[in-house]
């Protein structure tokens, strides 16, 4: 397309209020670059988010944005896809937002399989509310609300996504920004629901999973066949000295999306179709 208004700078929004050194900066940068490289102009992209540090993304970008409620980033994204299948919809929010408050939408959106990319800034903590455990916090991590340490085992997002039948499942690290950008591009281009769980250091509150902690552990996948579901499931469970990053799973023949199965959504986007109530008079014939 070569649209001239798709340089990374064209996606610049408000100045970020994140802490210096926060992993979110790189996610922002990767996303701006990914959109630029995919030549998706700002007015054709929609960023949906919930509430949290990660969820401020739509403010720091210039695209369309729906910054909704905590935990509720996915449903508006699905609604927007129904309204306008021409929009490139990206959901970008926190781990607490997505796997905690929003857990039910996470699961059922995967079942629904709308065509959207889902980027979870997983800092394994509640950042904005100052450091309580999130569903992905490590067992034993101490916080003000969990002074004896987190008791619950972490929520395994990749394994759950695979079990729910997601067609695209990836893990990235905000510290490897080019790799992240490339995976983002693949996720955005994937026809259907695509999850990228992004390991993101919270330099202020997560003193356990620091930049170095991640950096020392993440290993980019090599020679992995992303069509291998079984191997993907195995890799999804890997968490420890080595954490594989990259596209764990990409369906070879992506299953039908939500939108493609709805008759009313074929053809022109709903939002552009004309309407005249007067023409519907015959609706009441069945009641005669």
């Amino acid at each position: 397309m070569g649209n001239p208004s798709c340089r990374p700078a064209d996606y610049t929004g408000q100045d970020p209020s994140w802490c210096p050194g926060c992993g979110n900066f790189n996610i922002l940068k990767a996303l701006q670059n990914a959109l630029a490289e995919l030549q998706i102009p700002p007015h054709q992209a929609l960023l949906c988010s919930g509430i949290g540090q990660a969820a401020k993304m739509p403010h720091y970008m210039r695209t369309n944005g729906f910054n909704g409620l905590h935990g509720r980033a996915l449903p508006p994204a699905v609604g927007a896809r129904v309204a306008n299948i021409n929009l490139k919809v990206i959901v970008t929010s926190g781990d607490g937002d997505t796997y905690g408050e929003g857990g039910n939408h996470f699961i059922h959106t995967i079942r629904r399989n709308p065509d959207l990319a889902h980027f979870v800034h997983n800092n394994q903590i509640y950042g904005l509310t100052k450091g309580q455990a999130s569903p992905t916090s490590e067992q034993g991590m101490k916080t003000k609300v969990q002074p004896a340490g987190v008791m619950l085992p972490p929520f395994p997002p990749l394994s759950i996504a695979l079990t729910m039948g997601a067609g695209f499942v990836a893990r990235c690290f905000s510290g490897e920004v080019d790799h992240l950008k490339e995976v983002m591009k693949e996720a955005i281009s994937f026809p259907g629901y695509a999850l990228v769980d992004i390991l993101q250091p919270c330099v202020t509150f997560n003193k356990l999973n620091t930049f170095a902690w991640y950096k020392n552990r993440v290993v980019q996948l090599k020679d992995h066949d992303p069509a291998d579901r079984h191997e993907a499931a195995r890799l999804a469970r890997r968490w420890g000295d080595e954490i594989p990053i990259g596209i764990l799973y990409r369906e070879k023949n992506p299953r039908a999306t939500f939108e493609s199965q709805i008759r009313a959504l074929q053809g022109e986007p709903l939002v552009y179709r004309p309407f005249d109530p007067g023409a519907l008079q015959s609706l009441q014939d069945e009641f005669i």
């Binding site: 208004s5 929004g13 408000q14 209020s17 102009p41 700002p42 007015h43 054709q44 929609l46 949906c48 509430i51 401020k56 739509p58 403010h59 210039r62 695209t63 369309n64 944005g65 729906f66 910054n67 909704g68 409620l69 509720r72 996915l74 449903p75 508006p76 994204a77 699905v78 609604g79 927007a80 129904v82 309204a83 306008n84 021409n86 929009l87 039910n104 939408h105 699961i107 059922h108 709805i262 008759r263 009313a264 959504l265 709903l270 939002v271 179709r273 309407f275 005249d276 109530p277 007067g278 023409a279 519907l280 008079q281 609706l283 009441q284 009641f287 005669i288």
Partner: protein
């Protein structure tokens, strides 16, 4: 004279089919018919019944007395016998139970046995239908046609049902034929529509250009979903059953933000889960229609029964302060156009609009003149063109507080940002006191414009009444008839009935109330929520509260009785 029929039995005995066949036959012939349902929250067994009333004009309310009682089981007879008129008839199956010796009004029909003969016990209800037809002095032609329509494609089913129908007709004609004289046949054949509240609302939504309903099933709202879901193939509408009510409202908001008219429907418990999203609609200025179909609470309450218990909640649900409108369903005639108004207001003022229905309205059918679809408004109130000003801002400050609304992608190069935090004109997060204040003012300013759109309550009856009844929503029919009855008995009486509730249209009431001798606020709830609203908005109190909160709708007689006691 009106004829009142009650058809009662257990869930699963096919009461609704009897009611449907009778009602629809009568409506097609040009009679006025009203059919309401009283059913339990179970799928089989228990005691359910339908009330069917036949008048020259479409009856606005049910009556207490019963002319024909179709008692599919003994319980039905026991529960309703006291209301049977002296000349009434009870259709029952003598093989199933017998009436007391003293009961002279029996019309025994071997429902089961005859059905069996015709092809299966399951058609007992069709047999009973035939029996009613003969008592009404009708032939079976219309009902036969309905059976054919109903069972097209199912081999032999229509035929055996017709046989059952005729057998019932035959059997009952032995005891009595045309015992009842039907009222005048005021309408031309096939000139009326007959539909229930949920169907009217579903059709109104579709004809208002609603293209997305996301909802979660909840009695008594589910019929709206059923209606719209059934239209999905043929019309530009998408119905999505959400995983929960939170998803439902947030999906609808996403679709509305992205530019299509959207709606959600639910009952009280689901609405509770939606109140955070309601507040989000207020903050983001995203248009949304929410149909809140009330049932008795608190909590699960009585799922299949009726109440007007969520007015307070619809007025004040959601955290923080924002503009909203609350409208309600009164008659089927009005509700169709009023839901259209809800869609119009939602987009004109960029607000959530709550439309209050309830089980009584949702499940009651009446014969009506067809709707005039040309009366429906369809103006999207969107920004239409974009001259290249510096940039589009979703929350531009304007004099009346309404920022021109565009949807994402509408104008190449321009972006649209909706924000749940306090924000500036761009939609970006802010925290400064000055912008906050201006944004609050902006969001609330529209309340004044909105107030001017509210319809005053309908004034029915005497112009300068001594007795004034005040009501809202689905009680309209019962109240109107109560006024008629009281007027007939020589009272100088009127009704003020509210459809639009918020912003509260106080003018007519404020003028009239101080001039009346005695006033009654009539509500299907226990705490008098409209009366509270009136007092809070006008400082005026009504003299008496007539409240019913047993889960059943008002009958005109209930109201008349109370007015007599206190009037």
């Amino acid at each position: 004279m009106d004829i009142n029929i009650v058809i009662g039995g257990a869930a699963g005995q096919g009461l609704e089919t009897i009611a449907y066949l009778l009602s629809k036959s009568l409506v097609r012939m040009g009679y006025g018919v009203r059919t309401s349902r009283d059913y339990m929250s179970r799928v089989r067994g228990g005691h359910n019944f339908s009330r069917l009333r036949i008048s020259a004009d479409s009856p606005m309310a049910a009556a207490e007395q019963i002319d024909i009682l179709v008692a599919l089981n003994e319980e039905t007879y026991d529960l309703h016998r006291d209301f049977l008129t002296a000349n009434g008839r009870v259709i029952y199956d003598p093989d199933s139970f017998s009436l007391p010796e003293s009961e002279s009004r029996g019309t025994p029909v071997q429902l089961q046995a005859l059905a069996q003969e015709a092809g299966g016990a399951i058609m007992s209800n069709t047999v009973a239908t035939g029996a009613v037809l003969v008592l009404l002095g009708m032939d079976t032609a219309a009902a036969e046609k309905l059976l054919v329509e109903e069972f097209t494609g199912k081999e032999g089913v229509a035929e055996s049902n017709i046989a059952a129908l005729k057998a019932g007709y035959q059997a009952a004609s032995k005891t009595c034929s045309a015992c009842f004289e039907l009222p005048a046949q005021n309408r031309k054949p096939a000139s009326q529509i007959f539909l229930e509240g949920n169907e009217a609302l579903g059709m109104a939504a579709l004809a208002s250009g609603c293209r997305f309903l996301s909802a979660y099933p909840m009695t008594p709202s589910t019929g709206i979903m059923d209606y719209l879901a059934g239209k999905q193939g043929a019309y530009d509408v998408v119905v999505e059953q959400a995983e929960d009510e939170i998803a439902a409202i947030n999906m609808a908001l996403g679709a509305s933000y992205a530019g299509v008219r959207s709606m959600t429907s639910t009952s009280g418990g689901g609405f509770a889960l939606m109140t955070e999203g309601l507040s989000l609609a207020g903050m983001t200025e995203t248009p949304l229609v929410i149909i809140l179909s009330m049932r008795p609470g608190p909590a699960t309450g009585l799922p299949t029964r009726t109440e007007q218990g969520d007015l307070d909640f619809s007025l004040y649900g959601g955290h923080g302060e924002f503009a909203r409108a609350v409208l309600s369903a009164t008659s089927l005639e009005d509700a169709f156009y009023r839901l259209n108004k809800a869609f119009d207001l939602a987009e004109k003022y960029q607000i959530p609009v709550i439309f209050l229905s309830d089980q009584d309205f949702a499940d009651t059918s009446r014969s009506l003149a067809p709707y005039d679809f040309a009366r429906l408004r369809y103006d999207r109130h969107l920004l239409e063109t974009w001259e290249s000003r510096p940039r589009y801002q979703r929350y531009t400050f304007t004099e009346n507080g309404l920022s021109p609304r565009a949807f994402p992608g509408q104008f190449p190069g321009e972006t649209v940002l909706a924000d749940s935090d306090e924000h500036d004109e761009d939609g970006h997060i802010i925290e400064d006191a000055e912008t906050r204040k201006k944004m609050v003012n902006k969001r609330l300013a529209r309340l004044e414009l909105l107030a001017a759109e509210m319809d005053e309550p309908l004034h029915y009856g005497a112009h300068e009444p001594d007795l004034l009844l005040v009501g809202w929503g689905s009680t309209y029919g019962a109240l109107r008839e109560a006024v008629d009855i009281l007027a007939l008995k020589g009272n100088n009486v009127a009704l003020l009935h509210f459809s639009d509730l918020w912003p509260f249209p106080a003018k007519t009431l404020t003028e009239l109330l101080p001039r009346v001798h005695k006033s009654f606020c009539v509500e299907n709830n226990a705490t008098g929520q409209l009366a509270k609203l009136i007092k809070g908005q006008t400082g005026l109190s009504l003299d008496h509260h007539i409240l019913k909160y047993d889960g059943r709708p008002f009958l005109p007689a209930d109201i008349v009785r109370e007015v007599k006691i206190h009037g």
